[in-house]
């Protein structure tokens, strides 16, 4: 009972913190150079990473691995649309594990990131790295 109360209190405080953050209202998109640097850092940190993309506030690709940045934009938009449509509520994070690999997607600070990894990548670490990258980018853009 006490634990539940503490969690409820923490949730209230956390909501307060997030409402103060420039989330959906990230006025300016970070530069493509910083996004590319963030992606390189991410690839260095995550040996399981096969590919990733960082998307701006309008869903445009700021940086992506490989030769097809437009496809990242389309497919990431399709993923977020499917995820939001599942319950009719915008999602914060997505983790899909398939036989062929794992897909992670996250929205934070008005930006979004999508990554594909080998199977059995550590989800908590991958999502933490993606979130940190987005927050750093949003701070730089301010």
């Amino acid at each position: 009972m006490t634990t539940v109360m503490i969690q409820e209190a923490r949730a209230r405080v956390t909501v307060g913190i997030f409402t103060q953050m420039p989330d959906a209202a990230a006025a300016t998109a970070p530069s493509r150079d910083s996004a590319e640097a963030a992606l390189e850092f991410l690839a260095e940190m995550s040996p399981d990473l096969r590919g990733a993309a960082i998307l701006g506030p309008e869903g445009e690709v700021l940086a992506a691995t490989g030769e097809e940045p437009e496809r990242w934009a389309e497919d990431a938009a399709a993923l977020f649309a499917a995820a939001d449509g599942a319950e009719g509520v915008p999602v914060e994070q997505v983790h899909i594990a398939t036989e062929q690999g794992e897909v992670f997607a996250i929205r934070d600070a008005g930006l979004a990131a999508v990554s594909v990894t080998d199977r059995f990548a550590l989800a908590s670490l991958m999502l933490f790295d993606l979130r940190s990258a987005l927050r750093r980018l949003a701070e730089e853009a301010r």
Partner: protein, 74 residues
């Protein structure tokens, strides 16, 4: 003669490591595909592959896996 204290500690650590390795082996064998969505305030929801929403998520994920290819691994 009682065993040296550091040996007890080392034995215990290797037992934990063996347990962890066994757990990971079972996880690799037993884990099935899943789609998990996380919402604000820490709520999460799983969507089965045979549900309508789950199927859409798996299709979208499949496309992204295709785009990523083998990535930087060459």
């Amino acid at each position: 003669m009682p065993p040296k204290p550091h040996r007890i500690l080392l034995d215990r650590v290797s037992v934990y490591a063996d347990e962890a390795a066994a757990f990971m082996r079972r996880r690799r064998v037993a884990r099935r595909p899943f789609a998990r969505l996380y919402y604000p305030h820490g709520r999460s929801a799983d969507h089965a592959q045979d549900s309508r929403s789950g199927a859409e998520l798996f299709v979208a994920a499949g496309r992204l896996i295709e785009v990523a290819g083998n990535g930087q691994k060459g």
